[in-house]
């Protein structure tokens, strides 16, 4: 879910190429873009302002290292600041209390509290080998208690029954007593969703907290929340001594700005991510890894550059030798190239590493697979050796045979030959350009190859 944020940021910093020193002048435009990128990712405005201010202070006047482009230098500063904001390492659930260790859940309606309790119960039971009991203090929403009962049965943990007519605090107290009797290690207390502006309900959860004295009070928040995440987080943090945050629905395509906002406002670590429908879809949150994912643009960029360099040089070298020997670029060479592309993870694999891909809808992305590559290799494979060396030989009937042999249409064969012709044309220019020009040409060729899938962005 964090990809689009990183992509947006990487785009903006790319414009900062070729400047020797970061000044207030030359980073202003970029910082404005960074600001918009963060806002569009739903990071709350106060958080964005604070972040930008800190980046500005640190960036201005900084010498750009020789190894870095100015854009990368700024990214590094933004990256450092965001990493600081997100925290350094995963913070585990603190269960160091006299059993039962009580975990209280709080959050708005529909944030995913009950689902999270189910997932957390399974997590604690299976991975931490704890005896877990769950109890619902949601006496308001119809069938909320029933929902938790079903979840508890599914993940096979004890369920303390409660009823809609009861007082939440009384339920909680009875559950603690029962947990003690049954020698339970961890008691997970689910609560009703409540609005942070609802004084009566906020009073109720304060009372619950007072009665339970939980070792962990987890604030559950929907990762798709907008600017309001800041208000909500603040209100809950003011009312309750939160110890951690659970970010839910992270398997969607939200940009996850709420994660930053909540982390910044509450100052509490994000401990878990809810990332799917199944009860095992709960991941411990590793801020360092996520920060890298959000801000790994420097890494992404260098990775892409590296990939490009690798592809270009290997191919260029081989081809250069060929060109030097005065031989023609033929379909065998083309097939080698296609295969090399598949070896690098194919189009889809390459795409994943490229920034800018997150702007392409998933529906389109899913269509990009390596079938096209494979089909092209198959077409070439269906030709005779002679045909591969001398593509001019391919007349109508030969094309029809090749199409049959490779399970494609003659039109596909024609398209391949057209692409081959374009590449050949470029190859014939290569000898004039020297090795540098060769590289450049090859990059162009790669772009042409991308064109066949219609997918690779021009870089």
């Amino acid at each position: 879910m964090f990809e689009s944020l990183s992509q947006r940021l990487s785009e903006t910093v790319n414009r900062l190429r070729g400047r020797g020193r970061l000044t207030e002048e030359n980073i202003r435009e970029t910082l404005r873009e960074v600001r918009i990128a963060l806002l569009e990712a739903d990071v709350a405005l106060p958080v964005v302002k604070a972040l930008i201010e800190r980046v500005k202070v640190r960036a201005v006047g900084q010498e750009v290292l020789k190894s870095l482009s100015p854009g990368q230098a700024l990214v590094k500063v933004v990256s450092d600041e965001l990493t600081t904001l997100m925290g350094a390492a995963n913070t585990e659930l603190n269960l160091a209390a006299q059993p039962p260790a009580i975990v209280l859940m709080a959050g708005l309606q529909g944030a995913g509290k009950t689902t999270t309790v189910g997932k957390l119960a399974r997590f604690l039971k299976e991975r931490k080998k704890k005896r877990v009991m769950v109890v619902s203090c949601d006496v308001y929403r119809p069938a909320a208690i029933e929902q938790l009962r079903t979840l508890a049965a599914q993940v096979d943990v004890s369920f303390f029954p409660s009823e809609a007519g009861q007082d939440p605090v009384a339920i909680a107290k009875a559950a603690v007593a029962a947990a003690r009797r049954e020698v339970i290690d961890v008691l997970l207390v689910d609560t009703a969703g409540r609005l942070h502006v609802d004084e009566a309900m906020m009073g109720e959860i304060k009372a619950l907290h007072g009665a339970l004295d939980p070792i962990e009070t987890l604030f559950v928040v929907d990762s798709m929340t907008g600017q309001d995440a800041a208000n909500v987080a603040k209100a809950f943090a003011d009312a309750l001594p939160l110890t951690g945050v659970v970010l839910t629905k992270t398997d969607g395509d939200a940009r996850g700005g709420a994660a930053l906002s909540v982390r910044y406002i509450t100052g509490r670590p994000i401990k878990f991510l809810g990332a799917g429908e199944k009860s095992d879809a709960l991941e411990p949150f590793h801020p360092d890894r996520v920060a890298q994912r959000i801000l790994g643009m420097g890494d992404v960029l260098s990775l892409v550059e590296e990939v490009e360099r690798k592809v270009d040089q290997e191919k260029a070298q081989k081809l250069a030798e060929k060109v030097i020997k005065g031989k023609r670029f033929d379909l065998n060479d083309m097939r080698d190239q296609l295969e090399q592309m598949s070896n690098m993870g194919g189009l889809a694999g390459l795409m994943d590493k490229l920034p800018g891909m997150s702007s392409i809808p998933d529906s389109v992305k899913s269509k990009v697979n390596d079938n096209e590559l494979k089909r092209m290799v198959a077409i070439i494979g269906s030709m005779t050796k002679k045909e591969r060396r001398h593509p001019d030989l391919l007349n109508g009937s030969r094309k029809a045979r090749v199409a049959r042999g490779s399970g494609t249409q003659p039109a596909d064969v024609n398209r391949l030959l057209k692409q081959f012709m374009q590449m050949e044309k470029m190859m014939s220019k290569l000898s004039k350009g020297g090795s540098k020009g060769l590289l450049r040409q090859m990059r162009g060729a790669m772009k042409g190859m991308g064109g066949m899938g219609g997918m690779m962005p021009p870089r």
Binding site: I36, L39, E40, A41, D42, A44, L45, L108, Q109, G110, A111, G112, T115, G118, Y140, R141, P142, A143, A144, E146, Q147, L148, R149, T150, L151, A153, Q154, L195, H196, V197, D222, M224, T225, G226, Q227, D228, A229, N231, V232, T248, K249, D251, G252, D253, A254, R255, G257, A258, E277, K278, S279, D362, S363, S366
Partner: protein, 383 residues
């Protein structure tokens, strides 16, 4: 992968239903006998001032008290009707705007910058906010505004004109049964909205039936049944491991044979990024068409009002796969005021049918662009 969830549900009604041809929930059946008298009762009530129009008028509170009495079981402590302004005045957007105009009587670029900030903080979106403010800036430089108050008025008009085109109430009288399919991501309030809609339509004197199409989430069927009991409307269900499309198909058959006027079908919440689950919605619609080619008459997407810019992506996916025809925006009684509605209206132009302004059944209101915008702006200018 869904198998994991398909444990036998605990409630006894579903254990019997596979055997019985009639899938209509038993608990609700006796209730349906009472529907007739309930309709008569509600007709008498709705003959009094039409419940929607007087939203902003104080008299509405009186009629509301009558209704409130019937909601004793719903933990209701205050009269059901409160004005939009009252509901929304606590919003961050309204607050920041009010404070803005208290602090800045001066008409200058700083004022506009702060205005832009307020809009962004309300989730209106960077692009939409910038466009709105730039337009105001141009007009300000042309000296169109005498003071800050006039500028705010112009902003109000702009905001209203953005939302006016999507203010199209849902007319459920065009077909019978009128089938409403509710869709949306997890936790936005689909089931709750259905409960409130059921209340609204029964209050209007229509025969309503609910279909428990959320066969996936634990106890979702139970939750819908509770709403059915509260509003005394029949709920068609098959329990938790059933096929959603089949439940809804059964419900449509039952609704047709009983002459029910409105059928509201629940579906499981699904993230818009999950292709397989999204395709299931298409299947539900296809299956319905076997009985009634016009069904579903309305695909109502429920959007959480606290959602940020992701709402755009959600709506795009749901519109493409499920053919959304109308929106309900819920949870607008907090500090989030659903500024993303402006972005949605701008981008998709799909009608916003209802908004959820609170917990009780009557807090689901017909969307009213002017009342909504007025509720967000300082009181001195609204109305």
């Amino acid at each position: 992968m869904l198998k994991f969830w398909k444990k036998k549900p605990a409630e006894p009604a579903t254990a019997e239903s596979p055997a019985a041809d009639e899938h209509v929930d038993r608990t609700a059946d006796p209730a349906s006998a009472e529907v007739g008298s309930a309709i008569a009762e509600t007709l008498a009530e709705t003959a009094a001032p039409e419940p929607q129009a007087p939203d902003l008028e104080p008299e509405a509170e009186e009629t509301a008290i009558v209704e409130a009495a019937r909601e004793a079981e719903q933990h209701e402590s205050q009269p059901a009707r409160r004005s939009w302004r009252e509901r929304l005045s606590g919003s961050g957007f309204a607050k920041s705007l009010t404070s803005l105009f208290v602090r800045h009587p001066k008409l200058d670029d700083d004022l506009l910058d702060e205005l832009e900030t307020s809009l962004i903080t309300a989730d209106v979106g960077v692009e939409a906010s910038t466009n709105l403010v730039e337009d105001l800036r141009k007009r300000m430089h042309k000296r169109e505004f005498a003071d800050a108050g006039e500028l705010l008025k112009a902003l109000r008009n702009e905001l209203v004109s953005l939302l006016k085109p999507v203010e199209k109430p849902l007319d459920v009288s065009t077909a019978s049964p009128f089938v409403i399919l509710t869709v949306g991501i997890n936790g936005v309030g689909k089931t709750t909205t259905i409960g409130k809609l059921a209340r609204r339509y029964t209050d209007e004197g229509r025969g309503v039936m609910l279909a428990a199409g959320d066969t996936f989430r634990a106890a979702a069927v139970e939750q819908l049944k509770t709403w059915g009991e509260r509003n005394k409307v029949p709920v068609v269900s098959q329990g938790q491991d059933a096929d959603s499309a089949s439940v809804i198909f059964d419900a449509l058959q039952a609704a047709r044979s009983r002459g029910t006027q409105v059928l509201i079908a629940d579906t499981a919440g699904r993230l818009h990024t999950q292709g397989g689950l999204m395709d299931e919605l298409g299947k539900i619609a296809r299956v319905m068409k076997k009985l009634d080619t016009a069904a579903p008459h309305e695909v109502l997407m429920v959007i959480d009002g606290t959602t940020g810019q992701n709402a755009i992506s959600q709506l795009r996916q749901f519109r493409d796969t499920a053919g959304v025809t109308g929106l309900v925006v819920t949870k607008l009684d907090g500090t989030a005021k659903g500024g993303v509605m402006f972005a949605l209206a701008r981008e998709f132009g799909l009608p916003i049918r209802y908004v959820g302004l609170g917990e009780t059944a009557t807090d689901l209101r017909v969307f009213d662009a002017e009342a909504f915008v007025d509720g967000l702006l300082p009181a001195s200018l609204g109305g």
